[in-house]
Amino acid sequence: MSAAHTEAHDHHHHRPSGIMRWLTTTNHKDIGTMYLIFSLTMFFVGGVMALAIRAELFQPGLQVVNPELFNSLTTMHALIMIFGAIMPGFVGFANWLIPMMIGAPDMALPRMNNWSFWILPFAFAMLLGSLFTVGGGPASGWTLYAPLSVQGGVGVDMTILSIHMMGISSVLGAINIIVTIMNMRAPGMDLMKMPLFVWTWLITAFLLIAAMPVLAGAVTMLLTDRHFGTAFFDPAGGGDPVLFQHIFWFFGHPEVYILILPAFGIVSQIVPTFSRKPLFGYDSMVFATAGIAFLSFIVWAHHMFTVGMPLAGELFFMYATMLIAVPTGVKVFNWVATMWRGSITFETPMLFALAVVFLFTIGGLSGLMLAIVPADFQYHDTYFVVAHFHYVLFAGSIMSMMGAAYYWLPKWTGRMYSERLGKTHFWLTTIFFNLTFFPQHFLGLAGMPRRIPDYALEFTEFNVISSIGAFGLGLAQILFVYIVVQAVRGKNEKATAQVWEGADGLEWTVDSPPPYHTFETPPTVK
C-alpha cells in the first residue's frame, strides 16, 4: 500500500484541524503524542520542584523555602513524577507502539482512549492548584500516611480528588491496552511472538487494574476520616493508623512495577537491535515479568518494617522480597547474553539502554539490601532509600523513556535526531544523575533522614555535591527538548522505514513517518 493512497483515504474523514483536532482525536498516534508531551511537561514541573528542594538542601539552615512548603514540594514532586511523568509517558509509548507492533489499525477503544488522556490535565491542574489554597498543598509525603494526612487543609482534599481522577484515567487506559492486545493482533501474531514491550505492557495493565482501585479505597477512607466522622485510621475511634499503610502499600508495591516493567520492555527492544541479535531467552523474559508481577502483590509490607510487625510477618516479607531478585536477575543476565557475541554499536538509544541495565542494577542491589529486615532498620526513611528509588525510577524508568524517544523518534517523525547532541545529552544526564544520587547512599548510611528541610553539619559536603549534580541534571534536560523539537521540525536527514540496521518488528515495516492510519489491512506474521 502506498503512502499516497493512505493520504487520499485519510481525506475522507474530514478530521478537524487546530485545537479541535487534538481535543476530539481518537487516533492512537495523536493521543500517544499528547500523552508524551504531557509527560514531558510534568517532568519539567516536577523537576523544578526537585530543584527547589535541592536548593534548600544546598546548605544547612533555612534559606529558600519554609518547612511547610518544603514538605509540599517533596510530596508534589513525587506525585507529579510518578502519576504525571512516568505513568503517562509509558502510556504514550504504549499508544504509539502497541497497535503498530501487533499490526492493529488503532487501539480497540478509541473514544475511551481520548477520554483517559483528557482527564489528566484537569487532574493535575487540581493537584497543582492545591498549592495556592489556604494551608498549602499536601504535605504528608506522597504516601499520605494517616494521621498526618488528616491534618492539613482543603489542599489535601483536592489531592485526593485528583488521585481519583488519575486512577480512573489509568484504569481506562489499562483496559484499553488489554482489550487491544487480546483482540486486535494481526493473523499469526501469537502471544508468544509479541514484542517484549507489548508483553510487559500487557502485564503492567493487569497490575494497574488490580492496584489503582486499592489506592482509591485508601484515599476515600482518608477523605471520610477527614470530613465525615469515620475513624478508619484514628485509634481514638477504634481505628488503626497502620491499616492505612497496609492498604497504601498493597497498591504501592505493584505500582513500583507498573513504573518499571514497561522500561524492561523498552530495554528488551533496544538491546537486540544494536547487538544485531535476537533477544536471548524470550520465554524466560516473559515468565520473569509475570513472576515479578505476581511477587509484587505479596511483598508490600517491606515498606513498613519499622511499624512493629510480628516476627513471622517480618520474616515472610523479607523472604518474599528477596525472592524478587531471582526473576530480576534473570532479566539482567538475558540482556547481557543478548549482547554476548553480537555485533554491537553505540547509538544514543543503546547508550541509554546500557545505562538503564547498569544503573537499574545498582538500584536493584540496594533494594535487595533494603529487604534484609535488620539492616532495613538502619536504612529505613533515610537518604539511602532516596538514592535507591531514584536509581530505579530515574535511571530505570525515566532514562529508558529517553532511550525509547531516541529509538522511535525517527520512525514517528521521519527525521533522524542529531546523534552528536543525543550522545552529549546522554553523557550529561548519566554523569549528573550519578553526581546527584550516588552521594545520597552515603548520607543515608551516615544517618540523614528523608524529608527534612535542614540538616546537621556533618551532612553538608555530600548535600552540596548532590545539589550541584541536580542542577546539572535539570539543565541537561533542556538539551533533550531541543533535540526532540529539532527532529520534529524536520530539519535533519530523512529516516528510512527500517531506521536501524538491526531493527526487527512490524513498526519498522511501515514508512517513516508512518501514515495516519497504519495496518488498515492486517499484515500477516509468519
Binding site: L62, G281, Y282, T306, V326, M339, P374, A375, D454
Partner: protein, 394 residues
C-alpha cells in the same frame, strides 16, 4: 586553530572546576562518612556485620555481571568487525543463573534471620523507658523510677535562620537528653500522642515507629558511656527535621546517682499536683519556689522565652499555620475571656495537637506565656494572670 580553541576551553573548564571546589564548605565537622557509623551496641554491631557482608556479596555479583557485559561491549563491537552469532537460547545456562542467585539468597537469609531473632528478644531487661512522640518533641518516662520529662530541640532559631553561626551539634541538641545506663539491657516502649514519628539513634542500631494507639517495643544495650545523637525518622509534619534525639549514656553507678537526684524534684512536684490523677507525674522545674506576686514586666519578659515552645505551631509573630494551627493574633481565645485562655493552655484541646501544657510547664511558665500572648503578638488586652492563680487551678 581548533587545537588552540580546545586548549582554551580546557583551561576554562579547569578554572570552573577550581571555582566549584572552592565553593565547598569544607568545615571542621566534616566526616565524609561512607558507611554506617561505628556501632555502640551489640545490635548495631551485628547489623553492621550483616550490612558489610551483603554489601560485599552485592559488589562481587555486580563486578562479575558487568565485567562480562563490558567485555562483550569491548570485544563484540561492530567497529572491530565482530559478526553477530544468532543464538537465543541455552536452557542449561538459564537454569544455572536461576538456581545460583537463589542459593546466594538463602545464604543471605540465614544470618539475617538470626540477627532479627536476636533483635526482637526484649525479655530480661534491666530497665524500661517509655517514649512518647509529640509534634515536635519527645517525652521520656522511666517506668521503674517514676521519672518523666519532655525533650525539645535547643538549637536557637537564629542559627536555623542563618542569623548566627551554627554550633557544633546544630539541630542535634536538646534541652533534656534521655539519660541511660551503659551495659544494661534497656527495654523501650514507644507510642505517639498525635501522628506517627520514629525514634532512631544510628549507633544503637534501633529504629522504630511511634504510632498513636500502639505500643511498640525494642531494646538496646550501650557499651560505652557518652552522648549519642539521632533524629525523628518518620515524616511528622512541619518540624519533622527539628525533633532530634539525644541520649546521655552514663556508667551504671552514675546513672543510679542521677535517678536518686531526680527523686526530690519529683516528690515536690507531685505534692503540688494534688488534683492531677495521671500517674505520669512531671518534672516541674520551679514548683519548690513559694508563690509570689509577679509584675507585668516580669511576666512579659519570662513569657517571651516560654513562647519559644509555641512558635512551632503558632508562629513567631502569632500568625499560626491556618487551617491546622490557628493564629493567636486577634483570635477569639487570646482576646476573649482570660479563663478560656487559661483553660486551653492548661488542658489542651481534645483531638488536636494542642497539648495540656500543665503537664510540662510550671505555674510561672503558664502564667507568663498567657500574659505574653495577650499583650504581644499584635494583641494588647492589658490583663495578666498570676502563677498563684494557675496553681489554684491545678
Amino acid at each position: 586553530m581548533s587545537r588552540l580553541f580546545c586548549r582554551c576551553r580546557a583551561r576554562n573548564l579547569l578554572r570552573i572546576l577550581a571555582a566549584t571546589v572552592a565553593l565547598f564548605p569544607l568545615s571542621a565537622y566534616s566526616e565524609w562518612g561512607l558507611n554506617l557509623p561505628p556501632p555502640s551496641s551489640p545490635v548495631a554491631a551485628r547489623i553492621l556485620d550483616l550490612h558489610n557482608a551483603i554489601m560485599i556479596v552485592c559488589l562481587v555479583i555486580f563486578v562479575v555481571v558487568f565485567g562480562v557485559m563490558f567485555y562483550s561491549l569491548y570485544a563484540h563491537r561492530k567497529s572491530r568487525g565482530h559478526q553477530a552469532h544468532q543464538f537465543s537460547h541455552n536452557s542449561k545456562l538459564e537454569v544455572v543463573w536461576t538456581v545460583i542467585p537463589f542459593l546466594i539468597l538463602v545464604g543471605m537469609a540465614i544470618p539475617s534471620t538470626a540477627t532479627l531473632l536476636y533483635m526482637e528478644d526484649t525479655t530480661q531487661s534491666d530497665l524500661t523507658v517509655k517514649i512518647t512522640g509529640y509534634q515536635w518533641k519527645w517525652h521520656y518516662e522511666y517506668l521503674d523510677h517514676d521519672i518523666g520529662y519532655f525533650s525539645n530541640l535547643s538549637t536557637p532559631r537564629a542559627q536555623i535562620e542563618n542569623r548566627e553561626p551554627k554550633g557544633e551539634h546544630y539541630l542535634l541538641e536538646v534541652d533534656n537528653a534521655v539519660v541511660l545506663p551503659a551495659n544494661r539491657k534497656i527495654r523501650f516502649l514507644l507510642t505517639s500522642n498525635d501522628v506517627i514519628h520514629a525514634w532512631w539513634i544510628p549507633k544503637f542500631g534501633v529504629k522504630k515507629d511511634a504510632i498513636p494507639g500502639y505500643i511498640n517495643e525494642f531494646w538496646t544495650n550501650v557499651d560505652t558511656p557518652g552522648t549519642y545523637r539521632g533524629q525523628c525518622a518518620e515524616l511528622c509534619g512541619k518540624d519533622h527535621g527539628f525533633m532530634p534525639i539525644v541520649a546521655d549514656v552514663l556508667a551504671p553507678e552514675e546513672f543510679d546517682a542521677w535517678v536518686e537526684a531526680q527523686k526530690p524534684k519529683q516528690v515536690a512536684s507531685t505534692a503540688t499536683e494534688t488534683q492531677q490523677s495521671e500517674s505520669d507525674s512531671e518534672q516541674v522545674a520551679a514548683a519548690v519556689e513559694p508563690a509570689r506576686e509577679w509584675t507585668m514586666d516580669e511576666l512579659m519578659e519570662h513569657g517571651k522565652t516560654v513562647y519559644f515552645q509555641c512558635i512551632a505551631c503558632h508562629g513567631p509573630e502569632g500568625q499560626g499555620v491556618p487551617p491546622t494551627f490557628p493564629p493567636l493574633t486577634g483570635s477569639e481565645i487570646t482576646t476573649g475571656p482570660i479563663e478560656d485562655h487559661i483553660e486551653i493552655v492548661m488542658n489542651g484541646r481534645p483531638n488536636t495537637t494542642m497539648l495540656p501544657f500543665k503537664l510540662q510547664l510550671s505555674d510561672e511558665d503558664i502564667a507568663a506565656v498567657i500574659t505574653y500572648e495577650r499583650n504581644s503578638l499584635g494583641n494588647s488586652l492589658g490583663d495578666m494572670v498570676q502563677p498563684s492563680e494557675i496553681a489554684a487551678l491545678r
